[in-house]
């Protein structure tokens, strides 16, 4: 691999006026490509974001969720009750000092803390953003009581044509036997950037399915981070990112088992076209106490252009000896036999390639919460067929 040109600390920090304000907002200099976690993702692209805080569009006063209708079983916590649990999942999963999290804290995020009891059904959480340029930040904490169930959909989207950096930090605490199906359908545009952290603490017998889908962002970075605090829980992570033009999408996932008998099933897919870049790094930690862990991770990339670039890496640290940990990565072009089959039925090469891309994406999109269908995720991702 060619050594990446390194952005100097000066350029990324105080030396570049266009980025200095972001460093100031975060209270820390921007990460550089000298840092292993940012080797392939150059945040100097954020220099294009104008100085400013594009506050989330407020429903009433400064609270964008003032008029949110919550399903039965979901209550909004405020004040000290809310603050008591903030930050625990970030700390447990080791990302409370990550730069995107610090930036989120500094950008005066709109804050929502929800407690979930019983079977709460489904909730689509709007993330409205005003038309101004600059940074818009949300901070979400979900606490699922033991046995609670929820389907949650988030659809972060920048204001059309506006140079915005969206910062989303979600924390989730899953009690014993709780089940969360979370979907994030993030459709951006070339002038917008997304920094997304999802930190989850799972108690035993809890189940998490998180499906993160993004496309079209100038820059998008997802960091789903999960800790099974006693093991014996189930985690399913699904990802799909699509890049075209000069876009960059990066997913850095992290899963740690702090007890035995945990399960992880992870599928990350990427479609890279144009001169786009796609990065995936999948960290899985199985310490000695996490015996009988069963983890499977698969990264699959569809490379549609010879100018596109893929960097994909599993990062397994396995100390326990009685475990099953499978991982794999494939990078392929459209399968010529599939293309030929479609063409032999009179379907032109372009349409056939489109159908196969849809098929590739379908495997992840179908795992989004049912509420996502309203947003026609396939069209959002690939455009009209």
């Amino acid at each position: 691999m060619v050594a990446a040109p390194v952005v100097t600390a000066a350029a990324a920090g105080s030396g570049a006026p266009a980025l200095a304000w972001l460093a100031e907002l975060a209270g820390a200099p921007l990460p550089t490509r000298r840092q292993e976690d940012w080797r392939f993702t150059d945040l100097t692209a954020l220099a294009a974001i104008p100085v400013g805080v594009a506050a989330p569009a407020a429903g009433r006063a400064l609270d964008p969720w003032a008029e949110l209708n919550l399903p039965a079983g979901v209550t909004r916590l405020t004040g000290t009750a809310a603050e008591a649990q903030l930050g625990t999942a970030l700390a447990a999963s080791g990302c409370d000092q990550h730069w995107p999290v610090l930036l989120n804290g500094g950008a005066r995020p709109a804050l929502l803390v929800l407690k979930v009891e019983g079977d709460a059904g489904s909730l689509e959480l709007p993330l409205p953003v005003s038309a101004g340029e600059g940074v818009a930040a949300w901070r979400l904490l979900l606490v699922l009581e033991p046995g609670a169930r929820l389907e949650l959909l988030q659809v972060p989207a920048p204001a059309p044509g506006q140079r915005q950096l969206l910062s989303l930090v979600s924390e989730v605490v899953l009690g014993e036997g709780a089940r969360l199906q979370l979907g994030c359908l993030a459709q951006g545009h070339n002038h917008a950037a997304l920094l997304h952290h999802l930190a989850v603490r799972q108690a035993s017998a809890s189940e998490l399915q998180a499906t993160l889908v993004s496309s079209g962002w100038g820059l998008a970075r997802h960091e789903p981070r999960v800790v099974q605090e006693q093991g014996a829980a189930r985690t399913r992570l699904l990802g799909l990112q699509r890049v075209d033009g000069r876009q960059l999408a990066d997913t850095h996932s992290f899963v740690r088992f702090d007890g035995p008998d945990g399960e992880l099933d992870q599928l990350h897919k990427a479609v890279a076209d144009g001169s786009g870049r796609s990065v995936f790094n999948g960290a899985v930690q199985v310490p000695r106490l996490a015996q009988r862990t069963n983890a499977a991770q698969l990264s699959r990339t569809l490379l549609l252009s010879d100018r596109a670039r893929i960097d994909t890496k599993p990062e397994l640290e396995i100390v326990a000896d009685d475990v099953k940990c499978a991982h794999g990565a494939t990078v392929s072009q459209l399968q010529s036999e599939e293309l030929f089959y479609l063409r032999s039925r009179g379907i032109d090469a372009t349409t056939a390639a489109g159908l196969l891309q849809r098929a590739f994406c379908h495997e992840v999109l179908r795992e989004l919460p049912a509420a996502a269908h309203r947003h026609d995720p396939m069209t959002a991702l690939l455009g009209a067929a």
Partner: protein
Amino acid sequence: MSAVIRPDAPVLLEIRDLHASVENQPILKGVNLTIRAGEIHAVMGRNGSGKSTLSKVLAGHPAYTVTAGSVFYRGENLLDLDPEQRSRIGLFLGFQYPVEIPGVSNLEFLRVATNARRKERGDEELDTFAFEDVVRERLSVVQMDPAFLDRSVNEGFSGGEKKRNEILQMALLEPVVAILDETDSGLDIDALRIVAGGVNQLSSPDNATLLITHYQRLLDLITPDAVHVMAAGRILRSGGKELALELERSGYDWVDAELARLDGEAERQPLEVA
């Protein structure tokens, strides 16, 4: 080489001295075959004889390069056309291994394919509702359960279901020349009867079928007008349906002798010249 069976019928497919290679490896070494309207031809031969290559070359598979010879389809140079264009004007290849395409609905796939052919013929394209009527009526040709329409293309289909889906596509596309590549492979006798029954129903005096097969058993159910034996990339012998029966009895051993004789001739020739 080919027997003329219906001398007055129009020629649909004319293959002349066809040579083709894959990855610079010559596979077809001079195939000649003429197919007229209303005829059913069978090409038989052992594995590696070139019969599947012939079907792929005719359908336009990009991995194969035609190095010499010509193929005319109703007077038009077939080799100039993209695979999709060949399909639209009425050439159909039933695949030996139909491809599974998870995530693409079978119904939608069939509709897009059918409309591509209809458009070429100047027929009105069908919307989802109109197409459902058409496809449901055609399902009976292969006795297929409508549930297969709602699944992904060939995904998780058994071997027999995949082949039925191929014949369903043939029923919808109404090809002029259908090439069925080892349609009988992997089928139990019931599935074979259904598939063969479908092919028989779709045969008419205006179209033609080229069956590529390993075994005689398909030819018990679909009676060919001509049988051709392929070996080492060419057609070694042609005859009527009795040739298939003869192969069933005596196997392909004579092919080796015949090839050895031909090779001997080829080797001797330079000597004679010298």
